[in-house]
Each structure stands twice: as structure tokens, then as C-alpha cells.
């Protein structure tokens, strides 16, 4: 009786997920093998120099984003968690308000910061007589991904820092440990699960992000951009499908590994 009731409650969501997630994802598999390259399209991401280079630069940008974001968030979260001072709430609000910005808007923020008419260009012209512009390159993309990731990761790390037992840090200090040793031996091990979970999510998001690169456009070769151009401009559905599957596997794997490492469900951002 209750079994049937549970089944009925689950049925609408189940039908939706089957029709619009499982069937379409399964349909992607044969499509990827239907192109000029046949089934070796799946290996194209490794064998074709162009796609391989794209995969590598996407991985590098995502890894750099993750490392920098985690470092910044760890420092800022500890600074904010351990003390109360006037303006602290404002500072937290400033650090988290871009949470809901989509990638396109983040791209526009990067253009305002480091584009042709951007703040950096104006400042550098006033100071050195030369306009510094880096918005439309991999560097600009990295800046955009930092803008996107910092608010999300800071929230997770702050929550973890607040659960940290201050007595542990105090004990280490009274035993004569310096700030560096306290970080290495006490704080970072305690924060590790949160850092791994937030880092994996940050990495997966940076791998698959499309809006920021799309706004900055002009010759940024990251995997989502290549999938998009192969599909819409090149009409190469097979390669687009194969690259999508490769990209999906990488992001899924990153999240799965992190979850196994921490044993906790990664908080979705």
C-alpha cells in the first residue's frame, strides 16, 4: 500500500527525468559515433591536436581557477570568521553578492574591468601612457572564473571555519607554533573536507562554463566554446556530441572523486 503510494509520488519526476535526461543523454552516444571519424570521434579529444590542446587549456584554466579561489577563500574566510569589527557584515555582503550572476554578466564585469574601455586600461594609460587590455584572452577568462567562483567558495569555507574549534588553534599557539605551522598542521587539515568539496565544484563549474567565454569571445579556445562552434557554425554534430560526453565525464569524475574523498555530499552551488 505505502509502496504504491511512494511510487505514485515519485512517478511524475521519474517520467520527466527519463524523457528529458536519460533518453537524450543516451541519444548523444550513437550520434557521437555517426560522423566522419566514426567511433574514433570519442578519441578525438586525445588524438586530434586541436581538440587535445583545447582540452589541456581548459583543464589548466579550471585548475588555476580552483587553486587561486581556494587560497583566497581560505585566507578571507579565516579573517572574517575570527573577529567582529565595524563593516564586517558589509564586507561579507560585498564578497557574496555576485552569487547569482550568470556567466554572461560576469563576462561583462571582466570587460568593464580589463576591456578596451575598462578600468585597468584607463588607469594604466594615466600612469604609464599605455593601455593594458587582457579581457579578451585566457587571462580575462581566468579573471572571470575567479569573479564567479570566489563568492560560492567563500560561503562554504566560512561555514567550515566557523565549525573549527578555536581551542585547537589556541593550544597550538601556546605550544609555540607560528602562524604558518598553525595553518599547516591545525587549520588546513580541519578544513580539508570543505576545501575538497568546494574545490571540486569550482573545478567542474569552470570546466563547463560557457557564458563568460562567450561574452569575452574572440578566440578563447576552451572546450565549451569549441563544442558550441562545432555544433552551430561547423555543423559537426558528431564531434560536438563526443566532446560533450568527454567534458561531462571529466566534470562528473571530479565531483565523484571529491565526494568519495570526503564522504560527504558536495553542496551544490
Amino acid at each position: 500500500m505505502t509502496r504504491r503510494f511512494e511510487f505514485l509520488l515519485l512517478l511524475p519526476a521519474g517520467v520527466f527525468v527519463l524523457a528529458f535526461l536519460l533518453v537524450p543523454m543516451a541519444a548523444l552516444v550513437p550520434v557521437a559515433g555517426s560522423g566522419r571519424l566514426g567511433w574514433s570521434a570519442y578519441l578525438a579529444v586525445v588524438t586530434e591536436p586541436r581538440y587535445r590542446a583545447t582540452m589541456i587549456s581548459t583543464l589548466v584554466v579550471a585548475a588555476a581557477t580552483t587553486a587561486l579561489t581556494l587560497a583566497i577563500a581560505t585566507v578571507a574566510a579565516q579573517f572574517l570568521a575570527s573577529r567582529r569589527f565595524p563593516g564586517r557584515d558589509l564586507l561579507v555582503a560585498m564578497l557574496t553578492f555576485p552569487l547569482a550572476f550568470p556567466g554572461v554578466v560576469v563576462g561583462f564585469m571582466v570587460i568593464l574591468l580589463s576591456g578596451r574601455l575598462g578600468l585597468v586600461a584607463q588607469a594604466s594609460e594615466a600612469l604609464f601612457g599605455e593601455r593594458i587590455v587582457f579581457a579578451y584572452s585566457l587571462g580575462g577568462l581566468l579573471v572571470g572564473y575567479l569573479y564567479f567562483s570566489i563568492p560560492r567558495v567563500i560561503l562554504t569555507v566560512m561555514a567550515a571555519v566557523e565549525k573549527l574549534d578555536p581551542a585547537l588553534v589556541e593550544a597550538a599557539r601556546s605550544l609555540g607554533a607560528g602562524p604558518f605551522r598553525i595553518q599547516r598542521d591545525v587549520v588546513l587539515p580541519a578544513l580539508a573536507p570543505a576545501l575538497v568539496a568546494a574545490g571540486a565544484l569550482c573545478f567542474a563549474t569552470a570546466m563547463g562554463a560557457f557564458g563568460t567565454a562567450f561574452t569575452l569571445a574572440t578566440r578563447i579556445d576552451v572546450l565549451p566554446m569549441v563544442i558550441y562552434t562545432e555544433f552551430t557554425l561547423g555543423g559537426n554534430v558528431a564531434i560536438a556530441a563526443a566532446l560533450s560526453i568527454a567534458l561531462g565525464l571529466v566534470t562528473w569524475l571530479a565531483l565523484a572523486l571529491a565526494r568519495n574523498a570526503t564522504g560527504a555530499v558536495a553542496a551544490a552551488g
Binding site: P12, L21, P98, F108, M207, S244, L247
Partner: protein, 262 residues
């Protein structure tokens, strides 16, 4: 003050500035007569009106799509969350894993899969419903997890058994006992769904047609082809829509968690 503390504080302030300054520039540019000539030229709302003239349809469509997405996620997500919590065990975990897959798979890949499978159905392909399907796929996990988290935070079995012993049918127990108790989770989930739907771009860019442009699609269009003031004014409209949702979301989250004495 220690040197290391000072450095940490400085870094924190710099990062906050990095996040806030471009947004402020965008807000100012959206109401300035001329961005390149600076504020001395004065302020104006002309660009906002221009945005409304050019893009009102995208703004309204985004609101409609967000509401439709919300209705669907409520109707299919809330019962599913209850069933998963009741059922528990390995099967429920696998089901939850499958439902949350769209968080692990890039939106571009999901959209490609949807187009390959259903792109041939013309009526669907050219309608906003196609975008709603994508948004439900992407936001459903947030609704389900949010409701599940609340249901797991109290002893639902005790209430359920109590009501059952008084003769309430499973359906009545769901409507009269579970729904009221799950309200904070439903509210938090609803705010998340609407916020994410209004800002969604990765899926929507692939799924949209020239007649079904949403706000973020219009933003991308204005960034590529409009003068900076119009792009900024459009972004300002987006901020005005999204920031209250975000504030409400964080307020609900604060009510939901046990109070801490700070």
C-alpha cells in the same frame, strides 16, 4: 595587530573591491549620459527606457519561464522529495544521484542532448516550453535537495505514524502533515529555482530561437552589439530583478538554520 592578520585583511578588502567595483561601474554607466566622457555630462534614465523598448519581451519572457519552471518543480519535485525520504536506502540514493546528474553535466551538453532528441518536434523546438524543460532539468535537484533536507531534519516518521494511527490516508498525511512541515524547504527551494532560472544562460543559449529570447540571452546580445551604456542599463535591470531574490534566499537560509550566539 600581527603582520599576517594585516595582510589577510588587506587581501579580503582587495577581493571585495574586485567583486564590487565592476558592478558599480556598470550601474553608473547605465545611468550616465556618456560613459567615456564621465559623470560630468550628467545622469539620465534614457538608457533604461531604451532597454525597455528594445528588450521588454525578454524580461517578461524570463519571468514567465521562471514561474512556469517553479510550478513544474513544485508539482514533480516536492512529492518526489517526500517519496525519496520515506523510501530511504540504496534505491532512493541511486534515484537522487540520477536526478542530480544535471549539476555535474555542463549545461551545453544537456542542451545538445535535448536538441538532438527533440529538436525535430517543431512545435516544441520553437516554443518557450523547450526552455522550461531545460530549466526544470537544471533546477529540479535544488528543489528536491532543499525539501529533503528539511524533511530529514525532523522525525517525520513519528508524525506520519501518529496520523496513520488516527486513520489518515497516505495522501492526507502528505497534504496535511508533510507539506506544512516542509514549508521552509519548499520556500528556500522555490527562491533558488526562480533565481537560477532567471539567470540561466548555458542551456538557454542553445535552446532559444529568435522568438524565444530570455533576459540573459538578450544581455549577451547587448554586450556584443549595443553601446556600453545600453548594455550597462540592461545589466542594471537584471541586478534589480536578481538582488532581492538573493537577499530573500539568504534570509530564508538564516531562518532555517538554528540560531547561533555570535
Amino acid at each position: 595587530m600581527r603582520l599576517s592578520t594585516l595582510a589577510a585583511g588587506l587581501l579580503t578588502v582587495l577581493v571585495a573591491a574586485f567583486l564590487v567595483v565592476p558592478a558599480l561601474v556598470s550601474i553608473v554607466a547605465g545611468v550616465s549620459v556618456s560613459y567615456s566622457r564621465g559623470l560630468s555630462e550628467g545622469l539620465t534614465l534614457d538608457w533604461i527606457f531604451e532597454v525597455w523598448r528594445l528588450y521588454a519581451d525578454t524580461i517578461l519572457r524570463s519571468i514567465m519561464i521562471a514561474l512556469a519552471t517553479l510550478v513544474v518543480t513544485l508539482l514533480i519535485g516536492v512529492p518526489a522529495a517526500y517519496a525519496l525520504v520515506r523510501r530511504g536506502g540504496r534505491l532512493a540514493r541511486i534515484a537522487e544521484e540520477i536526478v542530480t546528474l544535471p549539476l555535474a553535466i555542463p549545461g551545453l551538453a544537456l542542451a545538445l542532448a535535448l536538441i538532438i532528441t527533440y529538436g525535430g518536434v517543431r512545435e516544441l523546438r520553437v516554443s518557450s516550453a523547450f526552455i522550461v524543460i531545460g530549466h526544470v532539468l537544471y533546477t529540479l535537484p535544488f528543489m528536491i535537495r532543499s525539501v529533503m533536507a528539511v524533511l530529514q531534519s525532523f522525525d517525520w516518521r513519528l508524525l506520519d505514524d501518529g496520523a496513520a494511527s488516527l486513520g489518515a490516508s497516505p495522501w492526507r498525511r502528505f497534504v496535511d502533515i508533510m507539506l506544512p512541515n516542509a514549508r521552509p524547504g519548499i520556500l528556500a527551494g522555490a527562491l533558488t529555482v526562480v533565481t537560477l532560472s532567471i539567470g540561466e544562460f548555458n542551456l538557454t543559449w542553445m535552446l532559444h530561437t529568435p522568438l524565444t529570447k530570455t533576459l540573459p540571452v538578450g544581455l549577451a546580445d547587448s554586450y556584443a552589439s549595443m553601446r556600453l551604456e545600453i548594455a550597462s542599463a540592461y545589466t542594471l535591470v537584471f541586478f534589480v530583478m536578481i538582488v532581492p531574490l538573493l537577499v530573500a534566499m539568504q534570509a530564508v537560509a538564516r531562518i532555517g538554520e538554528p540560531r547561533r550566539t555570535a
